[in-house]
Symmetry: C3
């Protein structure tokens, strides 16, 4: 075996290995910061679309977005005054989310829901169900849970639901082909 070539080969193999290790995977990582209906729809349409294309998809819910994942059927007690107040002011779950624009005291949002139904567009709760089936991963921001005063027992049932911090999101995002802040 040619020793010069063999040495060059070994060196090149190491460089290729490093490149392979650093290359992002076929993933999509989205921050869902907004709790608005329109942006939540966008997030879930992108997420389920990506999952349908075979991309591993992860949604990181933070700040107002956290509120979208409360289960309207669950209620928990034992909250302090501030948490109770926050909890009452924020929409309780996906069915209660409203448009960021042209809400008009709920009328615009109702119109949009009617429109979506008539055009056979999946509703937000239906999109969440679809996301479940397509194994879209959901991670809820620890810090936001604490700030909003939400308890884990009041969140929706979602397979593999995780609570994590910004470091987990960043690790995944750095390893993804697509990252968006919604």
């Amino acid at each position: 075996m040619d020793e010069t070539l063999a040495a060059q080969m070994a060196q090149l193999q190491a460089r290729v290995e490093a490149l392979e290790g650093a290359a992002p995977e076929n993933r999509v990582s989205l921050v869902v910061f907004s709790g608005d209906l329109d942006k939540a729809l966008a997030a879930f349409i992108i997420a389920t679309g990506a999952a349908a294309m075979g991309m591993e998809t992860m949604l990181f819910f933070t700040f107002w977005g956290t509120s979208l994942l409360r289960d309207p059927a669950k209620s928990v007690g034992g909250k302090d005054a501030m948490s109770t107040m926050f909890g009452a002011m924020l929409p309780k779950g996906a069915p209660k989310a409203t448009l960021s624009k042209m809400n008009f005291g709920g009328m615009g949002t109702a119109m949009m829901r009617t429109l979506m139904k008539s055009k056979n567009v999946a509703s937000l709760p239906q999109l969440i169900e679809l996301a479940k089936e397509m194994e879209v991963k959901i991670c809820i921001c620890d810090l936001s849970m604490s700030l909003m005063g939400f308890k884990r027992e009041e969140m929706i049932d979602y397979p593999g639901l995780q609570y994590c911090g910004v470091a987990t999101f960043l690790e995944q995002a750095a390893n993804s082909k697509v990252q968006l802040f919604i």
Copy 2:
């Protein structure tokens, strides 16, 4: 020829080819979700800036953003009641877009337009013209067109304007160096 080395070479070539195939191209893909003047300006300034740097640039207009591409000079009939109402409530094209903050019933937006003129900053319609010249690609979300009740005949003339779904956006985005949700 050294057979061991030749075999290693062939294997390494295949790995390098795979890396080359997966590496993102020199592209920028932006989702324009917002219909606000300020965010639309940001989208077009980034898009034309990227095009000026030789990056292939694509704007995917969805939800409120779709409204920015209506042509104020065009009008279409034959819409159902809901579409007519939506059409009337949303700003008709880029010249009518308003600020997301400090609009003050249009006064803030007028101030910003005056300010932009005095500082020789291109207006939104001018930036759209510039994007045309620089061959920024525009894709309008099919689903949003349907939801907003817009017809293709009322959209602006733009070379190569396409209507597409989220899958097309994701394919391009996964192949881009920069992706942003605006």
Copy 3:
């Protein structure tokens, strides 16, 4: 030395070099477009989180975001009428930023600040201090400074603070693993 193999090796080395040159660095580039407290918190939590993970992090402040970096303790004169008006209407620096939702004339924002304190979450000014220590880079959009009528002398003291255009942001973003528009 086997000449065929040597030639193949040279060619492959060039391809690997090209891949290495194009691979994004371990960086995060964020556009801070919003001037809202909640989004600014998200931006700085992501930025300081990324810096803590050893990623080189850069924040590009534009439009409303620019206002977050004004120093409340500094005041400058010699502005034209429009700049003075804009300056008075926009929140003067991070301590004055308000929530994008549920501000309720400042009450919601005050509630959030109290909540953050009680949960030991760093305030926005504290996060900016942390970003300094962690060497997060800050770049302020030239064009926005001019549009908002801000002068450099009224901005906060921040080590290595730069003023730049969209091209600088795009160059960094194209070379980053994570890019977000906040």
